[in-house]
């Protein structure tokens, strides 16, 4: 999976579309999984440690405002996480995906009716039980909405990752731009758009399974 898209030109366009789509999907899944793995616990932590809120949300907000191409550029010279290739791209995609998940986890939990939280405490729930039995289920819909936004955005941003050699559908787009070839542009853009629509629909469907409350 970690092969560079540019190395597989021999298999013909349809084969290459499949190959690069899988690569793209891999970039997105890996980044989103890691981003959720970081942002969800951090969002929960923020609801417990209010003083940290400003700093963490501020940082995530600032990252979000950096144009993606520039962010890739900033990361390249960094030791360990930088350099050319997939890991730098994944790093940048994670940074972008953090904010929506973080913010929605945080606001989803804080948005729960305080009476429900007090009721949980009155029944003698521990903090862990409060989180697992009450807060996460009631905030699930909001959190999932954050994951959906993050995923759709990442699918788009990941096309730019080809610029630093991460592969994925962006390879077609950059090649198409260089050779002014609209077939190549479409070969990259259409699967990426389809992937974004599917992700949006699929995650939206799961989201609706959770009661709004």
């Amino acid at each position: 999976m970690s092969q560079r898209g540019a190395q597989v030109m021999s298999s013909g366009l349809p084969g290459e579309i499949v190959q690069l789509t899988m690569e793209h999907l891999w970039l997105v899944l890996l980044s989103i999984t890691i981003a959720v793995g970081i942002a969800l616990p951090m969002g929960v932590l923020l609801t417990r440690k209010r003083p940290l809120q400003g700093w963490v949300l501020g940082f995530a907000n600032v990252v979000q405002t950096i144009p993606s191409l520039a962010l890739f550029g900033f990361l390249i010279p960094l030791p360990l996480i930088g350099g050319i290739g997939q890991h730098t791209a994944i790093m940048a995609l994670i940074l972008y995906a953090l904010l929506p998940v973080l913010r929605n986890t945080f606001t989803g939990i804080l948005g729960i009716d305080p009476a429900v939280r007090e009721s949980a405490l009155a029944m003698g729930m521990t903090d862990g039980q409060l989180l697992r039995l009450v807060e996460l289920p009631l905030a699930a819909r909001t959190i999932l909405a954050g994951v959906r936004v993050a995923t759709v955005t990442t699918i788009g941003t990941a096309t730019i990752a080809a610029a630093i050699g991460a592969g994925g559908l962006g390879v077609f787009i950059f090649r198409g731009l260089a050779s002014v070839d609209s077939t190549l542009l479409l070969a990259g853009a259409i699967p990426a758009a389809a992937m974004a629509l599917l992700a949006d629909g699929g995650l939206g469907w799961i989201e609706k399974k959770f009661s709004p409350v």
Binding site: S119, M125, T126, Q129, S211
Partner: protein, 244 residues
């Protein structure tokens, strides 16, 4: 015998407001103390002092002889059944899951939780076959209150706190549940603190009535004696008895 609950000079102050003023009283086993008072007089605040949702800013509350500040907060809350004002049910739990919550937290086996839940729903006249799987939003407010009562009774606590549990009920059901409350009290000998703003309810249910006014205890007496109180606030409430 040590009282089940004892308030010793309890005051509660928040942002410069005195919400409770120097409350001292105690509750013996099997007794029902009714806290009567207008809206905003501090009844709910006083109840929350008992199970450690709030702590006094002065004085102390002892439960079974030990100050609430020394209790393990989780143990204390699970030992005490609490019927929350406006029920406070979990919107994402079914009726059965709401009622069975504390037993489940206490690690009862599922079959025993289920049996207990069914039994309690019967007792509050919500047939389990019809109500178990509903969500709180699918109930009337009176039905929700009854689920709240069942939930508080679930783990069979020796001490119960009731915060206007019958507030949203029609007078007929209200009377039925009051009678049920009296019967259950006979049967189980539970100790209860019961909050209401309805003086009739206080007279029917209380073994003693404590009258709260601006956070202070204006009177504390058994019902017959409460009738003869002369204070202004007591008179104001007693005047309501003469209506109708």
């Amino acid at each position: 015998m040590t009282p089940i609950v004892e308030f010793r000079g309890v005051s509660y102050r928040i942002n410069g407001h005195h919400i409770l003023r120097n409350l001292s009283f105690s509750l013996a086993a099997g007794e029902t103390l009714v806290l009567l008072g207008r809206s905003g007089s501090g009844k709910t605040t006083a109840l929350k002092m008992v199970n450690g949702l709030l702590f006094p800013t002065e004085g102390e509350v002892c439960v079974e002889g030990m100050p609430t500040t020394s209790w393990d907060p989780i143990r204390l809350k699970r030992r005490i059944g609490y019927v929350i004002q406006e029920a406070g049910l979990f919107p994402h739990f079914t009726v059965a899951d709401n009622v069975g919550l504390v037993p489940k937290l206490e690690g009862w086996p599922p079959s025993r939780v289920r049996a207990r839940t069914g039994e309690l729903l019967e007792q509050v006249t919500l047939p389990p076959s019809e109500f178990s799987l509903r969500y709180p939003r699918e109930l009337s407010s009176g039905q929700r209150q009854r689920v709240g009562v069942a939930r508080a009774l679930a783990a069979d606590p020796a001490l119960l706190l009731f915060d206007e549990p019958f507030g949203a009920l029609d007078p007929v059901t209200r009377l039925e549940l009051q009678n049920q409350f009296l019967a259950l009290r006979e049967q189980w000998g539970k100790t209860a603190m019961f909050v209401t703003h309805d003086v009739r309810e206080a007279m029917r249910l209380g073994s003693r009535i404590g009258l709260l006014h601006h956070g202070a205890l204006e009177a504390l007496a058994p019902p017959e004696e409460f009738r003869r109180q002369h204070g202004d606030e007591a008179q104001a409430f007693l005047a309501c008895l003469d209506l109708k």
